[in-house]
């Protein structure tokens, strides 16, 4: 054996079976890896490329007609945004016509978007939103206004939940990262919601957020001595998304607490001792010792929360179905609405591709951030 090891410094063959093994080892390796490779190809990699393929067709889940190539039509519908300036309706004397409440009236958007031969560029577009500025009404038209709202909602959710959940997770980790009595108990309690399904949590919080008997309203009424007026949290466009954010953070923050904690425990105790000798206070220790030591953990946590936040679906599906007034609809919720509920695989795939590009952007930013540190 020693002889073989000497003649093969790269360790190419280290067996008593000699040359035969040079052929057997790759064969055995392929055989052992092949179940995983085949399943990965069939159920992950091929579907992934199919998303790009379907997005350029009119594929439906069930259809009597053959599938056709439609070029960029799906993406055009998905991403078109145009601004339309509407001037007030004027009477014969050139004075703006007022409605019964005394407001200036404008022509309706549909006069431009429904088969108006003078404005072919607006044909088929939907009203997304509008502002009245400087005597005109500026209307944003979109090929798919609901998708635009879902994109905005998804970003809104991510922008709040990423710093919020990461920060809360870090706070919890710092609180329990000290060996004092009862810390294990608190860690357990903070972590329990993680093992409860988000679907269970969503239904439970329907009651907690209820407008009449909900625990949140009752608690707030009690704490303010009756001055707080109960709110139907999930039924109002301005409170539905924040309510879902709070619930989501409550459910998932334990994951990030544990990851922060693992990061905290890699920081050598001796650094803190040295800082103490130099007279650093608690805050200074955090800024100069703890935070620099957590950099990789921080990047990882921000990226995982971002990816999970962009994929927001279950809470929406159970609690609000995108409502009220599209205020909680999200990108993945729309992908499922179009691809599954309406069986429009092509359009659903186009949304999936758009979603993938979002996620890829986040991943590239992560790579950029971690690379910077190595330099």
């Amino acid at each position: 054996m020693a002889a073989i090891a000497k003649t093969n410094p790269q360790g190419q063959a280290y067996s008593s079976k000699g040359n035969k093994d040079r052929y057997l080892e790759p064969l055995a390796a392929w055989l052992m890896a092949s179940p995983a490779v085949i399943l990965l190809l069939a159920f992950l990699i091929i579907p992934f490329f199919l998303a790009f393929f379907y997005a350029f067709t009119n594929q439906r889940l069930v259809s009597p007609n053959p599938t056709e190539y439609v070029g960029l039509a799906n993406f055009k519908q998905l991403l078109t945004v145009k601004i339309l300036r509407l001037d007030p309706i004027v009477d014969a004397a050139g004075q703006p016509v007022l409605d019964e409440t005394g407001n200036i009236t404008y022509p309706r958007e549909r006069e431009f978007t429904r088969n108006n031969p003078e404005y072919p560029q607006y044909n088929g577009l939907q009203k997304w939103t509008a502002w009245d500025i400087g005597g005109s009404r500026w209307t944003l038209l979109a090929g798919d206004a609901v998708f635009m709202r879902s994109l905005i909602n998804t970003f809104y959710f991510a922008l709040v939940i990423v710093p919020g959940q990461a920060g809360l997770g870090l706070l919890l980790a710092l609180l329990i990262n000290q060996r004092t009595a009862g810390v294990n108990f608190f860690r357990t309690v903070f972590f329990i919601p993680v093992v409860v399904s988000i679907v269970v949590v969503s239904i439970l919080f329907q009651f907690i957020y209820d407008g009449d008997n909900g625990l949140v309203n009752n608690t707030l009424v009690f704490l303010t001595g009756g001055r707080f007026t109960p709110v139907d949290w999930l039924a109002s466009p301005s409170t539905a998304m924040p309510a879902i954010m709070v619930m989501s953070a409550w459910q998932a923050v334990g994951i990030h607490m544990v990851i922060w904690l693992a990061g905290l425990q890699t920081i050598p105790e001796i650094l803190y001792e040295a800082a103490s000798i130099d007279g650093a206070n608690g805050w200074q220790k955090f800024i100069y010792v703890t935070w620099p030591g957590l950099r990789n953990t921080a990047v990882f946590i921000l990226v995982t929360i971002t990816m999970a936040a962009l994929g927001l679906f279950s809470q929406i599906d159970v609690m609000t179905q995108g409502g009220p007034l599209d205020s909680t609809t999200t990108v993945i919720y729309q992908a499922v609405q179009k691809g599954y509920k309406m069986q429009d695989i092509a359009y659903g795939s186009a949304i999936s591709v758009a979603f993938f590009i979002l996620v890829l952007t986040v991943a590239l930013v992560q790579r950029y951030l971690t690379r910077e540190k190595d330099v």
Binding site: S15, A29, P35, P47, L61, F207, L215, V318
Partner: protein, 303 residues
Amino acid sequence: MNLILSIKQKRALFLALRYGLMSLLAVIFAFPIVFMMVSSLKPSLQILRDSSSLMAFVPMGDISIDNYFKAFERAPIGLFVYNSLMVTLVTMGLGLFINSMAAFALANMRWKGQQVVLSVIIATLILPFETIAIPLLMVVSRLPWLGPEGLTYGWLNSYQVQIIPFIVDAFSIFLFVQFFKSLPYELIEAARIDGAGWFRIYAQVIVPISGPVFATAAILRGLFMWNQYLWPSMVIQSTQYRPVMVGLGYFWQLTSSNTAGEGILPWGELMAYLTIITIPVIVLFLALQRAFVESIATTGIKG
């Protein structure tokens, strides 16, 4: 009065603040779950009445397990639980075997294509399931299956559609590769000298000493499979194969359209259903707490 505190007093104050904050947070984290369990024992009217006071968290009054009986009558919850258990356990079992075997080939054997395969697997880690759900729906709706009824096409409404796409998991493979690479190579060399084949080395040398990483992969996969919602809600319409979480959505719709006798939602029954599918996971978590927390923490290592 001297407002400047001694170091000792400062410490005590900080400690009190810390415990105060932790206790407040603990209440916020625990109470919704306590409320769920307590309410599952109360009639719906009492749940509504109690919700305006601390009674909401106290199992007092008209306490019984009636809600559980009623919930089981309203929907085949036992079947849903069976479906989920079966899908979770089979996927987990097959997954542990196939993923760890592939990881062994990738970590401990030398072959052409090894690097490419490993890089592709690592690359798929950034691919969330949501991106492929819609095209995968298309794929599985056309796939052939050889079952008791002969050759059929389309996997919708079946067990295999919930199992087979989830057997391979890139993150599990990644975990196994990391672990296997850290094992001393002499172990494999010694077994080779003794004339053991590669599969035997994997099954009889590597697997027996890899308990922790198997536990981690099993916990992460088990939680994921038990909680599956998006995929089964797209591919399962029939009661026969419905898993618990989709069954829960179905139960919720059933109750919110069909109120109990008193003209209110049967919240008690809902809470009973929620409790039934949550308690086993919480018990499992409390029993294997260390392993649970450590598995979640390992997801942070990949960064």
